[in-house]
């Protein structure tokens, strides 16, 4: 799942096979070089993660650019 300006870059939610969040990001950066300019927060199944995290199939990964609510 992608939010904010990421939605415009990725265009839609993607199904990607990756064994970990680091691997996932590596693939995404290769495909969408613009991503590397953004400071992203990553959530796996609605929990924000800080380090590399193992992924199972059907895990939902959310990529979130800086918040700007309020």
């Amino acid at each position: 799942m992608a939010f904010g300006r990421l939605k415009e870059i990725l265009l839609s939610d993607l199904n990607i096979d990756a064994e970990s969040t680091d691997k996932l990001m590596e693939n995404l950066y290769a495909e969408f070089p613009m991503l590397s300019h953004l400071k992203l927060r990553i959530a796996v199944n609605q929990k924000i993660i800080s380090g590399n995290t193992k992924l199972e199939s059907n895990d939902i990964v959310a990529l979130m650019p800086p918040y700007s609510g309020g």
Partner: protein
């Protein structure tokens, strides 16, 4: 796990709904102080283009869970009678209100400090994004300044 309260509404926050919210507290006669924060959409001018609205989107599930956590922290820290939070999603026009934070307590200090802290945490911790829409219908992504 605590009850998750909803905070999002798909429209601007009307002054009338704020009045209704205030009026509902008249029966709570242990309240001595209310503190209210309102966020209003500014028509900033950026590179000669004027903001006419902001369109908000959110990762709602995560935001509501996070808000529940914030709520628990705040109630543990301050002596509050109650706290109400509303944030708009979708398009909110310049001059309209997009955020309503309402804290109440017996003595004013608790409501006042809690209100500021909640506003700060909402801006920092809730996955909400604002897209500034200019009068010529181009847009840019809002960034919060801290």
């Amino acid at each position: 796990m605590n009850k998750v309260k909803k905070i999002f509404q798909n429209s601007a926050i009307s002054p009338r709904s704020i009045a209704e919210s205030i009026a509902r507290h008249a029966s709570k006669t242990d309240i001595g102080a209310h503190q209210i924060f309102l966020g209003q959409i500014r028509s900033d001018v950026i590179e000669n283009k004027k903001v006419k609205a902001i369109e908000y989107t959110a990762y709602e599930d995560l935001a509501l869970n996070k808000m529940t956590e914030i709520r628990e922290d705040i109630f543990a820290k301050y002596q509050l009678t109650c706290m109400h939070i509303y944030h708009s999603l979708g398009v909110v026009h310049a001059g309209e209100i997009c955020l309503f934070v309402f804290t109440s307590s017996k003595h004013r200090n608790d409501a006042t400090l809690a209100c500021s802290e909640v506003v700060e945490r909402i801006k920092n911790e809730l996955p909400i994004w604002g897209r500034e829409i200019f009068e010529d219908d181009t847009h840019q992504w809002k960034t919060n300044v801290f």
